[in-house]
Amino acid sequence: MAIKDYSQTPKVDQVGILDRVARVTARSIKNEAKMQGLRMVLNMIDLTTLEGADTEAKVKQLCYKAMHLHDEIPNLPTTAAICVYPNFVNVAVKALKGSGVKVASVATAFPSGHSSREIKLMDTKIAVDAGADEIDMVISRGKFHSGEYNFVFDEIAAIKEACGNARLKVILETGELGTFDKVRRASDIAMDAGADFIKTSTGKIKPAATLPVTLVMLEAIKDHYYKTGRMVGMKPAGGISNSKLALQYLVMVKETLGGKWLSNEWFRFGASSLANDVLMQIAKQTQGNYQSKDYFSID
């Protein structure tokens, strides 16, 4: 197979993307559609803590929250996963045992990605060996901006191999890429190199996930599916903290890729504070009035 020239990836028109997003945000999600949507959102969250100050205790608390979002309302789903640094994977695996909540670990010198291939591979292996179900890697944005697309491709392919059975999410860090054209290019490279998910952001750079940038990536996923028949998942991360916005993401997925992508196997939210806003909305829909934030636990 000829090597693909990634400088020739499909073009994206910014004005058109913003127009389409405006149509998406004009959708009005009410009543049973809202409830169903909110429950889906909860079940798609990768509950995340990626701080220098993280401790075992903090990770354990987060794991408990992932399994017990709001016990006052029966039959709520759990979150999809929790997302931590590699050194906390074993703690999380233990805490979440039997719950069905997956453990995702960032790797590859997250968040900057500036390190050697050896260290990145080792970082990945440590997380996988500790029992991580999913690896969230970052691409080398510096190399990408320098036009070294094959380097970026090879790195992703190597990490994918190191993942074994763990699913690989590839973080493009769209806030550092500058244009939609480059987001599209990075998406294509990541998917061709074997990404199971493409993900917008580390959460450490602003802007993090936005609807427009997610639309660009969803359209890349669509084209990849058209060409290969392989489904690739999408994970917007960072900056999604309220229910209305989260539902707009689901509308966009539904109208761009269809219902097959509307599960946590193919769509995730990387978020830390989104869950409680969704819970407040669900409580409001169930009980008819908004409750104080103090009724919703923060972990």
Binding site: P10, K11, V12, D13, V15, G16, I17, D19, R20, A26, R27, S28, I29, K30, N31, E32, A33, K34, Q36, G37, M40, E219, K222, Y225, Y226, K227, T228, G229, R230, L250, K254, E255, T256, L257, G258, G259, K260, L262
Partner: protein, 493 residues
Amino acid sequence: MAKKKAKEIELDLSSNWDYAPSMESTGHIQLKKKYDLFIGGKFVKPKSGVYFDTINPATEEVLAQVAEANEADVDAAVKAARKAYDTVWSKLSGKERGKYIYRIARLIQERAREFSVIESLDGGKTIRESRDIDIPLAAAHFFYYAGWADKLDYAFPNRNPQSIGVAGQITPWNFPMLMIAWKIAPALATGNTVVLKPAETTSLTALKLAELFQDAGLPDGVVNIVTGYGQTGSHIVNHPDVDKIAFTGSTGVGKLIMKSIANTNKKSTMELGGKAANIIMEDAPLDQAVEGVINGIFFNQGHVCCAGSRLFIQESVYDIVMRKLKDRMQALVVGNPLDKNTDIGAINSKKQLDTIKKYIKIGKEEGAEIYQPNCTLPKKGYWIPPTLFTNVAQSSTIVKEEIFGPVLAIQTFRTVDEVISKANNTPYGLSAGVWSDKGSKVFNLTSQMRAGVVWGNTYNKFDPTSPFGGYKESGHGREGGLQGLEAYLKFNA
């Protein structure tokens, strides 16, 4: 993993998460059972004594009865307009006229919700469009022309611009309120008075606007609204004391009007039909181009004179564009115009429904291939699902004639020269669209289109500052912008 062949891989846009109905409330609107004519600042009973029903095309229910103006009614309206012109409006300074127009603009904004709902009830257009496009744009036109009222001497330096007198205006049913704004705002700003006839299927927002003029304190007779059918319009056209005719509607009726006013001193602007080319080059941003195609042809159920009803796709990207277009169409919601999630509303009238159905039949008979997405249409009311025709040529009837519905005819092309000649190969020339990532290509194509409006990498964008109007049989004169003022002025330099 064995690779599946491209043809077998289909995206399934269905899901078990459907949008619950999200209806715009109608509780806040006030409609009378019966509407009289608005002449000399008052609602007066028609001398004809005749009223006709105006219905909701989504339910076929009667919304109200509207008076039908006969020749005597039109004469009374023209007399009222003349009197207002002679005694009040032509004597007012531009600054004072501007104040009234600003007031109208602000009142439209204040009552935007009511106007939007009535527009959707009476015309079948989606609440999303009437709320986000029609009514805000109508207000924007009044704001824009209000600003010009006291600056005409600067707009046309050394040309001594003067008002014309009484303008007879006949507006269409596709954008009832917006087209009225396009016509009334510049007429008032330039010091003319108006006799307006809205389209018979969509009179209600015009009549609500009459109520709003009363609230704005607009002097009696400055705007008169006579409702009725084509016959009423012809009384305006043929009235000897009307100085200018502004018409938006079909090319057929436009030609009749031009014949009627030949040999008279009446000035005219005609905004008529179209059969616009929307051109996708192989280097275009394809997903956005597809979105532009959707906006180009399915906006307002395709009841748009500048609709991109002829799609030209460069052959090398034909398969992928068709696939994306069909997938995008699966996500369109057809149904109740008042549901905030509806993308495609009701066809405006039974008559128009029959016209569109006739063309779909002709398309099939001429051997074109039809595509319509799966969608369930409501049982009552007038509906056409979004429709594509492929395997057509320039000589196909559905490529030559304006359908004025959600029906797109798709052809391929190989070279830039070929597509330019095909795009211009039509008696119409209102609008066109070009999609390419290459700036030089866009500018080359846009400058060679014989069309009044050409969009580059977008479609159906409107702004009060931008002139709008056609080449060839799409009409003459421009509405909007500075050029829109000129149509209501005479110059005595």
